[in-house]
């Protein structure tokens, strides 16, 4: 697997508090604080964390929709290595053809005054890549791929439901035939049944068009379904990154464990999951010393965790953790927390058979009469 994007020590700081012409602000909100990881070609990398952990900022700064303060984002394009952070504006525009974004809220990310066709085709027009009939053809093709109908293209966004709007947003991102897409919580504003449709669509598109995703979400079960690798973020830093199976079955960072424990079990016979994580995320303006997770960590000691910042280190192949005691503590994964009722299992097949039989019986009876 080759690397598509290599992120090295990326930092995004926002100044807070008073600043004027002569004095610069002394305080910074460290939204992203020295993050390094690689995104492989054709993979779907999940990025999870609580709100305020900096996952959206990270996603946007990779595309330079937010200017990074420091660091490198290297995009590998056919033996060419392009550092996105240091690109000039006009070159960046060209680079954006290869990298696109899908936003969280399809109710506010689409321009109300443009028809769906204009929304999807806008970037083709802006880049002078197509016009006239060719434009129409390309827009229709992409729209069809995303499950929209040709006759819907002349409508305005208000006429669509949430799920369909998200399809428009996906079509807009795909029109430039990008290689890399940042999906910022693409399904969290949608209903469960529609969420499944969009997740399946994203998966199909990835296979058809060999796309690479950075999939930002706060819902771990969505990520477990969609992604093959997961990165966990806490207070602007990566705390763990590994294959999905490893993250879910053998997490090595206490924060990952507590995120897993917070998911309500789906078996009503199991007892209520006691809240493992007490309190809330501290302010990123004034993060705790040492390991930033230590005030909430049940395994923290009074010495090393408070004073020493843990490095993100590889403890087994492809499994990176930033915890001093990653080898020593044994943590519970998703399996130990809950037994799952498998609705697509044997029992359910029987039920579906039963329902089919019932249906056939009723229909034949009806014909006789």
């Amino acid at each position: 697997m080759s690397t598509l994007i290599d992120i090295k020590n990326l930092k995004v700081y926002f100044p807070v508090g008073r600043s004027n012409l002569f004095t610069k602000s002394k305080f910074f909100l460290r939204a992203v604080d020295g993050v390094s990881f690689k995104i492989n070609k054709g993979e779907n990398l999940g990025l999870v964390g609580e709100s305020g952990s900096g996952k959206t900022t990270l996603g946007r700064s990779i595309l330079r929709l937010i200017e990074p303060t420091n660091g490198q984002v290297i995009f590998k394009n056919k033996n060419e290595m392009i550092d996105i952070v240091s690109l000039k504006r006009n070159k960046l525009r060209k680079q954006w053809r290869h990298m696109q974004m899908i936003f969280q809220d399809p109710y506010s990310s689409l321009n109300q005054r443009m028809t769906v066709k204009e929304i999807i085709g806008e970037s083709l027009i802006a880049n002078r890549l197509a016009s006239g009939k060719e434009l129409d053809k390309q827009v229709e093709e992409i729209a069809l791929l995303c499950g929209l109908k040709t006759r819907q293209l002349s409508r305005y966004p208000h006429a669509f439901s949430g799920g369909q709007r998200q399809r428009i947003a996906i079509a807009r991102a795909l029109i430039m035939h990008p290689e890399f897409i940042v999906c910022d919580e693409p399904v969290s504003a949608l209903d469960v049944s529609i969420q499944a449709q969009i997740l399946n669509l994203l998966k199909d598109l990835q296979q058809q068009l060999s796309l690479t995703y950075l999939f930002i979400a706060h819902d771990l079960s969505v990520v477990s379904y969609a992604c093959n690798r997961v990165a966990v973020m806490y207070l602007g830093r990566l705390v763990e990154i590994a294959n999905t199976e490893e993250i879910y079955y053998t997490p090595k960072h206490p924060y990952t464990e507590s995120l897993m424990a917070a998911i309500p079990p789906d078996d009503p016979d199991l007892p209520m999951q006691k809240a493992k994580l007490k309190g809330e995320q501290p302010s990123p303006v004034n993060p705790p010393s040492g390991c930033t997770f230590h005030p909430r960590c049940p395994y923290a000691d009074n010495d090393r965790c408070i004073n020493e910042v843990p490095e993100l280190r590889e403890i087994s192949k492809g499994h990176f953790v930033s915890c001093h005691y990653a080898e020593k503590i044994s943590l519970k994964g998703a399996l130990e927390h809950k037994t799952t009722v498998d609705f697509r299992g044997v029992e359910n097949n029987q039920q579906i058979d039963d329902m089919r039989k019932r249906r056939n019986k009723i229909v034949t009876n009806q014909k006789k009469q």
């Binding site: 209903d191 529609i194 499944a196 819902d219 079960s221 999905t244 209520m272 994580l277 037994t339 498998d342």
Partner: protein, 338 residues
């Protein structure tokens, strides 16, 4: 001991008044709630779950009218019954109930407090209105409540403004406000949807404790079936203004009957079966609009078991398939007799 009945809703119908037409929003729902129990309403957006809960407090917008049915509230000792569907929504009786005996937690903790007053003031206001206490006493009660719902530094927290609270804290304050007059019934309209998983977990725990400690009945409204498994005693699945399946939580989760419920359970991505990583089951299409409600069963255009000539005639009745489990589907209505 058999628990007392607290609330009984009979054939409640709510319509949207347009210039000339009545668009049905809730087309006749029945349910009852016993004291100390938790009932969860689950459904996609637009299925009428919020409207039916708002109608219990008579908080509906002007264009929405209750056109039939009864909402019987049995009160403290189960004797005084009051039909909330009939009384004046602005009258004295309703004001006594609203906030005093029945209170509500809203979805958006951001917008359900006024930004102009301190959180403490907004809670004290409720207590003073319903309990006739002095300011000092109300403040004392508020501080106590804050401690109970787990807001740290309760004494100073009452003097803070909503913007100084995080989302989770605001939701805790919202629960404190709802509990301030020891209500008999708590209506929680998507209380965790706007929150993170970890905070959601804390809030669910808090609501569970509230139920255990105060014996408050809760109506829990959500679109996420996964949330209610532990907290609810009974689940009602709603689709386009009708209850299509109702039963104990265990029955609904382990033995769902209605095609919609099964699909809804399958559509949720789950932990645990990672190896399979199968495609998620989806429900075809979208919820139809209010103006093109299908004839007969409202789910039939999306249903895999659609039977022409049967499903498109009238809406199936909610029938009992086993004890404590009711389904509105023709598959079960005809099947048993043959």
């Amino acid at each position: 001991m058999e628990k007392k009945l607290l609330l009984k809703v009979k054939n409640l119908q709510i319509s949207w008044l347009l210039d000339k037409a009545l668009i049905p929003i809730i087309c006749g729902i029945d349910f009852s709630l016993k004291a100390g129990k938790v009932l969860a309403f689950v459904g996609e957006s637009g299925c009428g779950k919020s409207v039916s809960s708002l109608s219990l407090l008579r908080l509906l917008a002007k264009k929405l009218k209750i056109i039939g049915g009864e909402i019987l509230f049995y009160g403290q000792n189960g004797e005084e019954t009051l039909d909330m569907a009939k009384i004046n929504p602005r009258g004295k009786d309703m004001q006594k109930i609203r906030g005093g005996m029945v209170s509500m937690i809203f979805q958006e903790p951001m917008s359900s407090f006024s930004p102009l007053y301190t959180i403490g003031y907004q809670i004290m206001e409720v207590i003073q209105l319903h309990k006739n206490t002095s300011r000092e006493e109300a403040k004392k009660i508020t501080v106590e409540l804050f401690k109970k719902v787990g807001i740290g530094d309760a004494k100073n927290a009452v003097n803070r403004y909503p913007y100084e609270f995080s989302g989770g804290m605001r939701q805790r304050a919202m629960i404190a406000k709802a509990l301030s007059c020891n209500p008999l019934l708590l209506i929680a309209d998507e209380p965790t949807t706007a929150l993170d998983v970890t905070i959601q977990n804390q809030i669910l725990n808090l609501m569970y404790d509230v139920k255990q400690e105060f014996g408050t009945s809760i109506i829990f409204i959500t679109h996420d079936l996964g949330v209610v498994g532990q907290i609810a005693d009974e689940v009602a699945i709603m689709y386009m203004g009708k209850i299509i399946e109702q039963g104990t939580t265990r029955e609904i989760f382990k033995n769902p009957k209605h095609p919609y419920t099964i699909k809804l359970l399958e559509a949720v991505p789950r932990l645990g079966n990672l190896e399979a990583r199968r495609r998620l089951e989806t429900i075809r299409g979208n919820v139809p609009g209010l103006f093109d409600r299908p004839t007969g069963c409202a789910f039939r255009p999306r249903c895999d078991y659609f039977m022409p000539g049967i499903c498109d005639t009238t809406f199936p009745d909610l029938r009992e398939v086993s004890k404590d489990h009711k389904v509105a589907c023709y598959l079960y209505e005809y099947g048993e007799s043959n």
